[in-house]
Amino acid sequence: MKVSSDNSSVSETKTRQITFAQAINEAIAEEMRRDPTVFIIGEDVAEAGTPFKVLSGLVKEFGTGRVIDSPISEAGITGIGVGAAMTGMRPIVDIMFGDFLTLTMDQLVNQAAKTRYMSGGKLKVPLVLRTTLGATRRSAAQHSQSLHAWVSHIPGLKVVVPATPYDAKGLLKSAVRDDNPVVFFEDKMMYQLKGPVPEEEYTIPLGVADLKRVGTDITLVATSSMVQVALEAAGILQEADISAEVVDVRTTVPLDKETLIASVRKTSRAIVIDEGYESYGVTAEIASVIAEGGFYYLDAPVRRMGAMDVPVPFSPVLEDQTVPTPDAVAAMAKTLCNKL
């Protein structure tokens, strides 16, 4: 466990305010400078720098030999990434929208995730697959999903869900250096979010949750896009005299169970907030971990708040209904604390 990375640990070194997108870009550039086996492959990654402009400028420094524009072939580039990773390279495969993970599934699930185990520990697949999650971009049902639960379900894959520029950069650098396949989810709505990031190099280990806010009455466990929602909810709750602790898991695999359980043993209440579909999702897994590890300390049932179980609708008035909001989280917390 590490407390509040955005404030304490960062303040000791020289920092700047940069966006989430810039943090990703810096992480990749630094890793590509450090290690010649790192390369990027994906659709419109070179001159276009992706539609989100996350990779802008990388092709200028590293050339088209290491920032490779691919055909629109998600399965193919994932497979090529797996083969390259098995033979000495460290590919970063760019899958523009998380919804397109469906197209990569065999290569990710049956190939990348299982190669290490099936080969009895002989082969390894140091692959990073970067993709996106998050709704409310008015992009409708096939460009708005958060499918990180799917890959979190598969043994052999690590799954990263950062919520701040600082975390994104440090976690991505660790992901590139990891000898396992890592699926790295970036919230599309967060790309322009700014935050403090040290000028000096740093990494953040995979599997260590971060206390984004310390509290005593209720634990709000959140991932990626929902961390900001949880922090806003905590602000609302403070006005109602409820002290909320916000735990950002940062990686769903490995999951830092100790930090989750320790927090709930202190607060006795928990809500798990995640933008994946609520049913059979990340929220269910984390709620179970908390229930199993903290049962005797709980004063209320652990509650889940995920995306509504509907295909994400286009119309803004409908779409906004499908994602947990700070007000909804705060209302749920007040109920659990008997303060509604």
């Binding site: 030999g65 580039i77 083969g83 009895g120």
Partner: protein
């Protein structure tokens, strides 16, 4: 490659190095044949867990292609992969051990028949998803070029993989980027239990030709023809002249897997007998060796008994070998 020119068991003394090479091909094919027959016996004797997909009848493809490769070159294989593994240099005892789920197996018993991988011989693994390794082989070729080596990658797959989209995505990129990869399609006539003509529209070679990939359709039962095509493709790949596609016409003498005994509903006994009696790749090379006086019947028989003894030793040691420790079940999920 393991056990090459040193074992001249029975070959007439006058043969040249070049001719000795064909005897080596003969040994390699026979090694696959006898290995597979032993696998079938293990299944019939209920000594092997699960199933296996026998390569018998297709030996000329694996041997003809792999003999064109260096140890450092890569292959990816299929669910019907024992032949590719042996041809690329895998050891028989470790293979048997893997099929039996033993700790001495190539994958410590975690992979089994359909997942043998052997990094030392450049085998990136058999693959139980039809067409599933086409991206991996293509990625290995990209990697070879990015690392500045002249390694090549061979992607073995069957006619069934022609139904998978991934193959076309991979071939498109290999052609675009002139990657050193050779796609070897083993058309053994059947997608599991269905003749390929019922599943595959248009000429098979047209698929690769559409990407501008050099394509050749050959008799996959004649190892010399397969080898010649493979050597040419490998040379071109090493010279950065891009990918090739070799369509090998071949036949699966046994069923889809060892348990596929009653096959009359999808193919006739007569068809099977014709292939076995007239198109057996080992017989074809054997006859050629005899005709060209590179071997006589007794020398071929000595080769066979030597391989049979190797097989017996390998299977016996695998049967006696210990299973993995129970705690290993949680090992190797992550590196």
């Amino acid at each position: 490659m393991a056990q090459t020119n040193k074992k001249k068991s029975g070959a007439p003394k006058s043969v040249s190095v070049r001719d000795e090479r064909w005897l080596h091909f003969y040994r390699q094919m026979l090694k696959i044949r006898l290995f597979e027959e032993e696998v079938n016996q293990l299944y019939l004797g209920a000594k092997m867990p699960g199933l296996a997909h026998l390569y018998i009848g297709e030996e000329a493809v694996a041997v003809g292609v792999c003999e064109a490769l260096r140890q450092t070159d890569y292959i990816t294989s299929t669910h019907r992969g024992h032949g590719h593994c042996i041809a690329k240099g895998a050891k028989l005892d470790n293979m048997f051990a893997e099929l039996l789920g033993k700790a001495a197996g190539y994958c410590r018993g975690k992979g089994g028949s359909m997942h043998i991988a052997d990094q030392e011989s450049g085998n990136l693994g058999a693959n139980a998803i039809v067409g599933g390794s086409t991206g991996i082989a293509t990625g290995a070729a990209l990697s070879a070029r990015m690392r500045g080596t002249d390694q090549v990658a061979v992607c073995f797959f069957g006619d069934g993989a022609l139904g998978q989209g991934l193959l076309y995505e991979a071939m498109n990129m290999a052609a675009l980027w002139k990657l050193p990869v050779i796609y070897v399609c083993e058309n053994n006539q059947y997608n599991e239990y269905t003749h390929y003509s019922e599943t595959t529209a248009g000429p098979l070679t047209a698929r690769a030709e559409a990407f501008g990939i050099r394509t050749k359709a050959i008799d996959g039962q004649d190892v010399k023809i397969v080898h010649e095509a493979a050597v040419k493709s490998v040379e071109k790949a090493r010279r950065s002249e891009g990918p090739s596609f070799i369509l090998c016409n071949t036949y699966r003498f046994y069923g889809h897997h060892v348990g596929d005994i009653d096959r009359a509903y999808y193919r006739s006994k007569q068809e099977e007998e014709e292939w076995k009696s007239q198109r057996d790749p080992i017989q074809i090379l054997g006859h050629w060796l005899l005709k060209n006086k590179l071997a006589d019947r007794s020398s071929l028989a000595r080769i066979e008994s030597a391989i049979a003894a190797d097989i017996k030793r390998a299977v016996t040691s695998a049967l006696e070998a210990p299973y993995p420790e129970i705690h290993e079940v949680r090992q190797h999920v992550f590196a």
